[in-house]
Every structure is written in structure tokens, then in C-alpha cells.
Amino acid sequence: MTRVVHYLNQFFVGIGGEDAAASGPASIEGPVGPGKRLQALLGDDFEIVATVHCGDDHAAGVPGADEEILALARGHQPDLVVAGPAFTSGRYGIACARVVAAATRAGVPAIAAMHDDNPGLEDAGAAVVVRSGPVAREMGPSLDTFAAAVRRVVVGEPVTGEHGRIGRVPRRNVLVDANAAERAVDLVLARLAGGGDSEVPLPRFDRVPPAPPVPSTADVTVALVTESALVPDGNPDGLESARATRWLRYALEDVDELAAGQYRSVHGGFSTVFANEDPHRLVPLDVARELEREQVIGRLHREYLVTAGNGTSVSNARRFGVEWAAELRRSEVRAAVFTAT
């Protein structure tokens, strides 16, 4: 018997719509709503032992909500966590994706279902996501696909595009017989003959449209942000010099200059000799203070945000960008100068 915990939002467990979107995580014994149909499709070898649910605003908007939901699910000793289908519902999709990503990180097999266009797809990490229809009207066929994929996940069979898989499929390192140089020569010859498959898929990057210009800088708060890895001497918070997994913030209140010897770049990707002679080459506090005095800018933000942009994975870089944007918006910063190396 495979013990399954099913994640649904407030709407599909019947608590309410937008009025209940702020409700926190909770758990109900057994299958609820679409879970009943899923249970029937999965048959007697599976038991949906509990349904964990949460309001969409809470699940998608409160930091750590995914871990809260996973903790509730794990209380039922699941062999598998399933989430959705979320169709094209954005916050619900993000919640489903984060819950299955958290479960996968914790070593609990997990699978979600949503539509290809659901923005949550990006957040599913290495977890399996299968296609659902765009709207709840297509619950029936969506659950058919979902149930078939659930069976494959449980026995460890691959879930591919043929089985409705969408989103990113994890790429794993494997050792093959021929070295990369020999494979490259093979690929040259295959290309010259008109064939040959690339080993690396072409990435698709987010394109973020620039924000509209600030009408006047004289009355807004401006922030300094950087990937130059400039940190106080001694690197008190241990910023990585390469493959950064986090970002840091350092106070600028009552700081008028970043003196040589007091600040230092730990960036591993360029020669920091000249930058360390004058840290303003990386974080232009000197000029920013001048502009503040001359009232060209309203006010300089009270801290600068920093990470190391060297071998950083795109997924981490994307996360830093999202977190910085949220952080600056919360602080009512209207413009930022991003110094890159």
C-alpha cells in the first residue's frame, strides 16, 4: 500500500475562494474534492491518507510556507506527495510547485500537475510535473494523466514528455565511453554530413523588460547593488568567491566612504588589486554621497546589497534578482545602480 498525501488549495477543498486565500496550512484525513476521483483512478494499491490544504495567498506569498505545508504532509508518513492539478491558476501553481520541490529536496517522492503556462512550473526544482488542462473544467482528463504518472513515479519508472511531463527535466552527470574531444569530432563529422544532435539544449532565458525611467531622481531613494563581492574586510559573513548561493547586505548609514583596507572584494572572477585600492570602483558610494548632497538624488538607500557573480547558477541568480526586487520595493527604493564586474 502506497501512502499518498494530496495538496490542494482553499478552493478545491471547499473552504472558499478569494475570501479564504489568506488561510494557513491545515490537514484533513482522507481524500477531498478532486482527491476522491484521483483515489478511484489509483485503485486499491494506493491510499490518499490525508489532504493538506492552504490558502493561495499564504502558500505563494509567505516565506517558508512550502516547508510548513511539507511538515504537515510528513506528519502522515507519506510514501508520495501529490499536488494539484493547478491548471493555469498562478498562485496555486506556485504553491504546488514549491511543495513538490520541498518534498523532493527532503527525499520524499513528489509530483504535481498544472498547465504548461502556469508560472509555478519554474519553481518545481527537480520534481516531476505533468500537464493538466488550462481550466478546472478539464479535471477529468487531467486526473487521468496525473494518476498514470503517479503510478510511474512510485515504481521509479521515468516520466517523459510521452507521459505528459512538462517543465525542466534534471540533467545529471554520467560517465560515457568516449571522451568529450572524440565526441566533438564525431559531432563535426555528423554535422558535415547533415545530421548530429547537440548534447546541450539551447537555454531559454527570462527577458525582463526594463522598468520605465524615473521621472525625477531628486525626490526618490536610490540604492547601490552589486555582484562585485565587495564586503567588509575579513569577509565576516563568508560570502562565496564563486558559485554564490546567497547575497548579503551592509549598512551605509553614517558611512561616507568605503576606505581601502576596510572593504575588500572576495570575487574569484577578476583581479581585485585595483578595486581593493579604492573600493568605490566597485560600489560608487563617494559619487552617490556627492549626488545626495547636491540633491541630484533624493536619498541614498541605507544599505547596499551584494553577491558574487562568478559561476553563479542561473537559478540562483534569478532568485537573487527576485529577492532584491522585493527587498527594494519594500524599502520604497525607486531606482538602483547595479555595478557589475
Binding site: G125, A184, R191, S198, F270
Partner: protein, 410 residues
């Protein structure tokens, strides 16, 4: 070519019946310099429960005869093209320098365990050179003198085999791109040029500021390219792999069968966009003028260096030449991120040397060289380590030595 099967430290430096003995005092004398207060040499061999941390460079012992004439041009001999005549190679051995230098990212080399299959230096007997800088020396002096000393030592070890009968003799013809009807395929080798501790030398000089250039592949065999680049451990091209360039080897092996080896272009990797564009266009034009129909492109470095490969691939395709680039993937620890920072737009044939971010666990080892601690994790160097592949020396070899690639795990 002489195969080294056993190694030891002993009373004299000698090579007999596959056994290489090194007189440690002689090795230390060869490395002596005012910038180095102390130098130590130690052997590690394949299969040992041993780890070398802070690996800087590795050099294969080679010589062209007594006195060193012609090997490592620009360092041990005049900086002029080599590649003709006889070269004696001690195959299966390397001189490996290890220790702290600024800007060097810590590289880990395990001689046994799961990482051993990922590094060319896990399959060689390595004479590890450790050093203590002199108090008054600058780091730049330490770097320069250490490199010169390691090259002297490597050449000296090969001289020990001059009187021994070779285990194999390879005849390496000079490429003639005018040959036959087969497709003419060359190699474009991008070389990092980012200043001290991130520079690579051709005939003793950095290519920084220069133009791509066509070289005699035999020049590489004689040590024309020497590494002084210590960033991105898994993506380093040590001197050892420039001496044994895997793309050149693959092209040579197949030359006359299903292709003609058309030559090697060495190119700098400039750091600003305008120069990257200029150098890429120039390199593509050079390939065309040299009669290439196609090229395999390699890099040194991380995402920045991807741009140099991608732009050259696109420029080659614009000129009607087929291009295949070797790339490592930066797909995140779970392998779901986009793999390439700057992908080509016109030329799309890429070979993967593996994911930089995937993590692996290396078991504890009995002894470690190169340092007592791994600063990256702040643990004793002999401990069990959980690390990204990025830290394993040469594991994602941009020159194509490795057998790693990425596959989708559905």
C-alpha cells in the same frame, strides 16, 4: 615514449625498466629560488588513499635531449616555434604544484574514489611540489619562480630516460590542409588572458592583447603552451593537457581516415565585449584562410569564456564553416537550470563536459598534500568532503579530456 610504472625517491634520479627514481635533493635544487623559502617533493600514485588540495598546475615530463634545448620554449629554451625532431615523453607521470596562491580557487585531486575517474592526474604518478614563500617575496614572484622550477624539474625527469629504450614511438606528421578530398577539421583553442594568476603563456608570453594565431600542433607537444591559470578548478587546462591536447589527439588519430587534421588556432579570451567580438571574427577568418572546413572549439574558464566559444561558433557558421563547441553546463545543483550562460545563436552543435554544480561526496583519505585544510569548507583536507563537481581538478575539462556528460534523468 617511456611508460612510468613505478616511482620512488632515492639516491639518484634515474629511469630503468619503467621505474622512475628521483633524488629529492636534486628536485629541490632545481626549484630553488629567492622567492621560495622552502620546497618539498612527495610522490602520490593512482589508487593511493591520497588527496592533493590547492592544485596549481601539472606538467608531463618531456625533453628533447640533454641540456633542455627546444622544450618549453620561452621558459627553458628560446621562445620560438618547436615541434620538430624527437621528443622524449615520460608517460604516466606528472610534476604537480600545489599550495596557496592568491586568486587561485582551491582544486581537489583524489587519487582514488569516485572523483578519480574524472581527472587525468588521478591516472598518473605525481611528484607533488609543495612550497613555502620567502617572507620578502611578492606573490607574483612566487608564482613565476614556482612555474619555472616545475618546468625545469619536469624536463630533468624526462632526461633520466634519454638512454632507456622507448616503449613506443609515435610519428606525428605536420598537418597539410591541402591534402585530399576529406573534410579539413581544425582545433580552435581559447586561452585565458586575465592577468597574473589567471594567465596562460605561449612561448613564455601571455596572449593578452594579441590576435588569434595559427600554430604547428607539434609546438604544443613540446610545451609551447604553459598554464598560469588557477581559477575554476574543474575547468582548468593544466600544462599537462596542453601537452596532450585531447582535441588534437582525436583529430590526429582520425586524420587521413575520415578527416584531414587542418591545424590549431590559439586565441586569447579577452574580457570586454568589443574585443571578444573582434577576436572572434578574426579567429573565424583565420580558420577560413587556413583552409578549415570545420573546427572544434575549446575554452578555459566559466560563463565568461562561454561567450568566446559561442561567438566564434557563430562567426564560423557565418563564413560557412561547421563549428562544434565544448561546454560545461551550469545547470544548478539539481540540474534544472539553463545550462549555458551565453549560448551560440547560429551554430548549435555543443558537446557537454558535465554539470559544474552537481554535488558529490568524496570519502576521507589517509593523507593530503598541498595544504592541511580545505579552506573552501574549512575542514581538514583528509576529511570526507561534499563538493560541487566544479572543485574537482579538471573534472569538466574544456579541452575534452573527460568522459563526463549530462543526460536527462526522467
Amino acid at each position: 615514449m617511456h611508460r612510468v610504472q613505478r616511482v620512488s625517491l632515492g639516491e639518484e634520479t634515474a629511469f630503468r625498466d619503467g621505474h622512475l627514481t628521483v633524488r629529492a635533493e636534486e628536485a629541490v635544487e632545481l626549484l630553488a629560488s629567492p622567492s621560495l623559502a622552502d620546497v618539498r617533493v612527495t610522490w602520490v600514485s593512482p589508487g593511493d588513499s591520497a588527496r592533493v588540495v590547492k592544485v596549481l598546475d601539472a606538467v608531463e615530463p618531456r625533453t628533447k635531449g640533454p641540456g633542455g634545448g627546444g622544450i618549453f620554449p620561452g621558459f627553458l629554451s628560446p621562445g620560438r616555434p618547436q615541434g620538430r625532431g624527437t621528443t622524449h615523453v615520460l608517460s604516466g607521470a606528472a610534476v604537480v604544484s600545489a599550495g596557496f596562491l592568491p586568486r587561485a580557487q582551491e582544486a581537489v585531486l583524489d587519487l582514488s574514489g569516485p572523483a578519480a575517474a574524472m581527472s587525468p592526474l588521478a591516472a598518473t604518478h605525481n611528484l607533488v611540489v609543495e612550497f613555502t614563500p620567502a617572507a620578502a617575496a611578492t606573490w607574483e614572484d612566487v608564482d613565476r619562480d614556482l612555474r619555472a622550477g616545475v618546468l625545469r624539474l619536469a624536463a630533468r625527469l624526462a632526461e633520466a630516460a634519454l638512454d632507456a629504450p622507448p616503449d613506443a614511438v609515435e610519428d606525428l606528421p605536420v598537418p597539410d590542409p591541402r591534402d585530399g578530398a576529406l573534410p579539413r577539421v581544425g582545433a580552435v583553442v581559447n586561452i585565458q588572458t586575465q592577468g597574473t594568476f589567471k594567465d596562460v603563456f605561449v612561448h613564455g608570453r601571455s596572449l593578452s592583447g594579441g590576435l588569434p594565431t595559427l600554430v604547428d600542433p607539434g609546438d604544443l607537444d613540446d610545451g609551447a603552451v604553459v598554464s598560469g591559470q588557477y581559477g575554476h578548478p574543474a575547468l582548468k587546462n593544466p600544462t599537462y593537457l596542453h601537452q596532450n591536447n585531447p582535441v588534437v589527439e582525436a583529430l590526429r588519430r582520425r586524420s587521413g581516415t575520415d578527416l584531414v587534421f587542418a591545424g590549431v588556432v590559439l586565441s586569447p579570451e579577452p574580457v570586454d565585449q568589443e574585443q571578444k567580438q573582434r577576436i572572434s571574427a578574426y579567429a573565424a577568418r583565420l580558420c577560413l584562410l587556413a583552409g578549415f572546413d570545420a573546427a572544434v572549439l575549446t575554452k578555459e574558464g566559466g560563463g565568461n569564456a562561454d561567450a568566446d566559444v559561442a561567438m566564434k561558433m557563430d562567426e564560423l557558421e557565418e563564413l560557412g564553416l561547421t563549428a562544434v563547441g565544448l561546454f560545461s553546463e551550469l545547470a544548478g545543483a539539481d540540474g534544472t537550470g539553463p545550462s549555458i550562460v551565453v549560448p551560440p545563436t547560429k551554430a548549435t552543435a555543443m558537446v557537454s563536459t558535465g554539470n559544474y554544480d552537481e554535488r558529490l561526496v568524496l570519502p576521507a583519505v589517509e593523507r593530503a598534500l598541498g595544504g592541511d585544510r580545505l579552506d573552501l569548507l574549512d575542514v581538514p583536507a583528509t576529511e570526507e568532503l561534499e563538493l560541487p563537481t566544479a572543485v574537482i581538478y579538471c573534472a569538466l575539462s574544456p579541452l575534452g579530456w573527460g568522459r563526463l556528460t549530462c543526460r536527462e534523468a526522467a
